[in-house]
């Protein structure tokens, strides 16, 4: 299952709920303000890093770039995709949930 999160983890609990309620082997795509969750040295970096033991975490590169960050600022193991990669994730996962 593909889980899409679009909220900053410093403002809303969407990512925490997603990590809590998504099954193992899920893919979590961070878009819009959720890309801040992919950054190193934050108060949530550790929990995101830990989640990668059983889940795949991907961030949307154009949203990251729009906010002044790039691959060098990412937690080790977080993947980047562009919009074409976003579509590929939705093709690969029949079930998709947006944690609005």
């Amino acid at each position: 299952m593909l889980h899409i999160v679009n909220k900053s983890p410093f403002e809303k609990n969407s990512l925490a709920s997603c990590l809590r309620l998504s099954a193992e082997e899920s893919t979590i795509l961070l878009i819009e303000d959720a890309v801040y969750a992919a950054l190193v040295n934050t108060s949530v970096s550790e929990s995101v890093h830990r989640a990668m033991d059983e889940k795949r975490i991907v961030a949307l590169e154009p949203d990251l770039a729009a906010r002044g960050f790039d691959a060098n600022h990412l937690i080790n193991g977080v993947e980047l995709v562009d919009y074409d990669g976003f579509v590929t994730l939705t093709v690969d996962n029949p079930k998709i949930q947006s944690w609005l």
């Binding site: 819009e32 949203d63 919009y83 939705t90 029949p94 998709i96």
Partner: protein, 140 residues
């Protein structure tokens, strides 16, 4: 599971937009996603606008010249790729989005729905959720 037999080469996508333009990034994200879906040769079965998402459909939108015209962008996408842009009637009426028929029926002096959009029942959201291979939601 439904639709598991379908080829992954050509898929039908449904897109749900729950936020209006210019405040939240949702409508931009949905647009860029829909463009990428089409670029990869898939089909966008319908874009459904719900909640404040209905505000994407007013033809009175007039952004400054150096900004994107979000409504026009949807209109162009619909005409270039024959995409159904459906606007929930109940959500639209609450927020003052009407087509000519609704304007007449409610005795309003004008309609304001942009070209390419149509007023539709909420059932069209369920319909696309059932018919599409993938439903992707953008919102707040």
């Amino acid at each position: 599971m439904i639709n598991s037999q379908l080829s992954t080469h050509h898929m039908k996508f449904a897109v749900l937009v729950n936020e209006g333009p210019y405040t939240h990034q949702a409508s931009d994200s949905a647009y860029h996603f829909a463009k990428a879906v089409l670029r990869q040769g898939h089909e966008v079965l319908r874009v459904f606008f719900y909640h404040d998402g209905v505000n994407n459909s007013t033809r009175l939108t007039t952004p400054p010249q150096d900004d994107r015209n979000i409504t026009q962008r949807w209109t162009d996408l619909a005409s270039d790729h024959n995409i159904d842009l459906a606007v929930c009637v109940a959500a639209a009426q609450r927020r003052g989005i009407v087509d000519s028929a609704e304007a007449r029926r409610n005795e309003k002096d004008t309609d304001n729905i942009a070209e390419g959009f149509r007023i539709a029942g909420l059932g069209q959201l369920i319909d696309m959720a059932v018919k599409a291979d993938r439903l992707v939601t953008f919102g707040d």
